[in-house]
């Protein structure tokens, strides 16, 4: 008689798997990548390629030659980390710098903790922050490299809007005066393409497009991004209403810096975010609050990366104390 498969139920499985999820996130990042290739040309392509290749290579080498375990680079998670790292760097970053970032991201932040699913901190953000504190000049050089596609750069400014504001405020200017001196800081520019910043954050619209794709494919739920953005809106709104000369307005805070990139793609990383809805809301609110506080009162003009990394540390605690709503809470005794 022929052999039958005999295993416990359930006997069918949804189409979902890790590889498909990671591929979806990579697809969702494509609009942003395309926009930055349009504006930064070869340097954006170079950063993305070096980032992906080096992260995959680092994971392969560690798994194959150091840990001597099964190589899992085909789950696309290393590739995704590489792409996210590239999108979080200034367009003029040299190739060797992203290589160092990849070694730190995969080698230190991911593999030392036990590989996929075991890390506490978002690997790409650890890589970015490592580079930020190690190479502060290169990491805040927002000059726009020459592009294959465009002659004469009118696209991005030399500094990010947040850096301009920070600098202006420290020189004793008011927000109004800074804005008047820098007419290129406009919402239209932020939404479409023309703000200075990391490779991945040139266009808010492209990021939102990716967000919609992730929601439609049910890769992420809107809980974390919306609670981050909502908190930033409310908290910066309170400061702004109290003193519009010193504090930037809420819309500006949402559209600048890494808020959208961070909220949509970095804070929603499964491994480093809480599992229950309550936990996710607390996590998002924490990130939003820390971001605004760092921006207004910290030394760095930008705070999303630090805010996410700090909240990453709280995740195990949130997982422990924020339980999902159980069905039928009351326990019947005597049975």
């Amino acid at each position: 008689m022929r052999k039958l498969i005999v295993s416990p139920s359930p006997h069918i499985h949804s189409v979902e798997n890790t590889q498909r999820i990671m591929r979806d996130v990579i697809i969702a990042l494509c609009p942003s990548l395309l926009v930055s290739i349009y504006f930064f040309g070869f340097s954006a392509i170079k950063l993305a390629l070096v980032g992906v290749a080096s992260c995959v290579a680092v994971e392969y080498v560690i798994q194959k030659y150091i840990l001597k375990t099964q190589v899992t680079i085909n789950d696309y998670t290393a590739a995704l980390t590489g792409l996210l790292l590239a999108l979080n760097l200034p367009p003029s970053s040299p190739g060797w710098m992203i290589l160092i970032g990849s070694i730190v991201a995969i080698g230190v932040a991911k593999m030392t903790f036990g590989g996929l699913g075991q890390n506490i901190f978002n690997p790409a953000l650890v890589g970015r922050v490592f580079l930020l504190v190690s190479f502060p000049v290169l990491m805040t050089d927002w000059s726009v490299p020459a592009s294959w596609f465009r002659e004469g750069v009118d696209a991005a400014t030399g500094a990010t809007p947040l850096a301009l504001i920070k600098e202006g405020l420290s020189n004793g200017l008011t927000i109004e005066q800074i804005m008047a001196a820098n007419p290129e800081i406009s919402y239209v520019h932020m939404l479409f393409t023309k703000i200075g910043g990391s490779v991945g954050e040139v266009s808010a619209l492209a990021l939102i497009l990716g967000f919609v794709y992730l929601l439609v494919r049910r890769v992420i739920k809107p809980t974390i991004p919306l609670s981050i953005i909502g908190t930033i809106f409310v908290v910066s709104g309170i400061f702004w209403l109290a003193n519009p000369a010193q504090f930037t307005d809420p819309i500006f805070n949402i559209l600048t810096g890494g808020v959208l990139l961070g909220a949509i793609f970095m804070a929603t990383d499964y491994v480093t975010s809480p599992m229950s809805t309550t936990g996710q809301i607390i996590f998002g609110v924490g990130i939003g609050l820390l971001t605004v506080l760092i921006r207004y009162f910290g030394a760095y003009p930008e705070g999303v990366s630090f805010a996410i990394l700090i909240m990453n540390m709280v995740v195990p605690l949130l997982n422990k104390y924020c339980k999902p709503a159980r069905f039928g809470k009351e326990v019947k005794n005597g049975k």
Partner: protein
């Protein structure tokens, strides 16, 4: 549209046999009647080798409180009373009958007339149901007469009829609701009388609009029965989920449906109750869907208990070449068959064939903490956490995290992108935790 609130998944419907009308499956040469056709203690055979039996004759008696009568599904001579391998290949006592003709007990009313008037009293109904060996046909095969007798101090308020049929592929309940709607409704009325309740809700998932329409037409004569369309979501047919969907109440943790004032019965059980009480017919046959994407033929049979699965598959033209798994029941909660010679029982609902591609589990990879198992769990548990505790034998933590509430619906494993065998681990540790809990002295 109504449904339960926590968790649930949406597997592909796959109701490919829904348009196949119910056909009578022929009686074969031999019938193999298991003594374990219900939840609880196996029945005791009361016939011996050489005895002549008729269709519907009592051949085994209950051996405990939770147990049920078993009746012959064929007429002929008892060839043996001996252990015979069940679905999993384990020996179980069977009464094996050489079939001669098809002679029914005279007391059974075989006319197609619908008997509407309920003459028996509450007590007589329950006695009749017990005599006829009726068990729940929704999957668990719990003896129906026990469910219709709430323990002292508990009062039933609602009778809920389960016509959700939320498992993919299964269409036996659907065909039943479509072809014998009035009998099902009368069955519900009889159970309402037995329970002394005035409210009855009949839940049917929205993917069966024809059944909903048909039931609604007939329910006009039975105003106390409310037909409630439900949103399509698995596991809607789970007792606790169905109670929430239909009444908004939640059965407390470790509690029984009666604690929410509800008694749930499957629509197939309602038909069996009708036939027992109004037609004097014991439960020895039922509707069985034979299906699978790999099978050329899809069928819904009215099948006598005791038919070997292999004969059933032969009748539809042998097992398809690429069928890799044969399942008794649905793809989410059914049991994989390892012995095709095993016979069907009175509560069999489907024989499903899946190809290797449809059913083979991919290799397990690392948990990526996506939380999809938490989102899928209809009991609000954290399957990933239960598995971590299970792997380390942390039974106190498992109990604290309510592993005993798991209904083994399979939603967690179904939705895990890392293919972690969540339910396999949880099932094993749940049994262990329940054992520990039972061994404690009662307060």
């Amino acid at each position: 549209m109504k449904t339960f609130k926590i968790g649930g998944v949406h597997p592909n419907d796959s109701k490919i046999s829904k348009d196949c009308a119910i056909e009578d499956f022929p009686v074969l040469e031999k019938a193999y009647l298991s003594m374990a056709q219900h939840l609880g203690a196996p029945a005791e055979p009361i016939v011996q080798k050489g005895d002549k039996v008729k269709v519907g004759q009592l051949i085994a008696k209950p051996s405990g409180f939770v147990s049920a009568n078993i009746h012959s599904s064929v007429s002929g001579t008892v060839a043996a009373v001996e252990p015979y391998a069940d679905l999993a290949g384990n020996p179980v006592m069977h009464v094996i009958i050489d079939v001669e003709g098809d002679e029914w007990e005279e007391s059974i009313d075989r006319t197609p007339d619908i008997v509407r008037e309920i003459k028996l009293s509450k007590e007589e109904i329950i006695k009749k149901i017990q005599e006829c060996g009726i068990v729940g046909l929704g999957g668990a095969s719990f003896p129906t007469h026990i469910k219709l007798t709430p323990p002292p101090g508990k009062v039933a308020e609602y009778l809920l009829i389960n016509g959700a049929e939320c498992e993919p592929f299964l269409t036996s309940d659907y065909r039943l609701m479509l072809e014998q709607p009035e009998q099902v409704l009368i069955g519900a009325k009889i159970m309402m009388k037995a329970l002394d309740v005035t409210k009855c809700r009949f839940g049917v998932e929205e993917n069966k609009p024809e059944a909903i329409a048909k039931l609604k037409t007939y329910a006009a004569q039975y105003p106390e029965i409310e037909i409630v369309p439900l949103k399509k979501k698995y596991p809607q047919g789970g007792e606790k989920q169905l109670i929430e969907a239909l009444t908004g109440r939640r059965v407390p943790s470790m509690g029984l449906p009666i604690d929410a004032g509800a008694v749930v019965q499957n629509c197939g059980t309602a038909l069996a109750v009708y036939e027992a009480v109004q037609k004097n017919k014991p439960l020895f046959e039922g509707i069985v869907t034979v299906t699978g994407n790999c099978s050329e033929q899809q069928r819904n049979f009215r099948l006598r208990a005791g038919t070997p699965i292999i004969n059933l598959l032969d009748a539809i033209g042998r097992i398809p070449k690429d069928a890799a798994k044969v399942i008794s029941g649905g793809p989410m909660m059914g049991k994989a068959v390892s012995n095709l010679l095993a016979a069907t029982v009175k509560s069999s609902s489907a024989i499903l064939m899946l190809t290797e591609e449809e059913t083979k589990r991919k290799p397990e990879s690392n948990c990526i903490r996506c939380g999809k198992c938490i989102d899928a769990c209809p009991m609000g548990l954290e399957p990933y956490l239960l598995v971590r505790y299970s792997r380390n034998g942390m039974y106190d933590e498992l109990e604290e995290n309510k592993i005993y509430d798991c209904i083994e619906c399979g939603c967690c494993l179904f939705s895990c992108p890392a293919y972690i065998p969540l339910l396999d681990h949880i099932r094993a540790s749940k049994a262990e935790v329940m054992k520990i809990m039972r061994s404690r002295p009662k307060k």
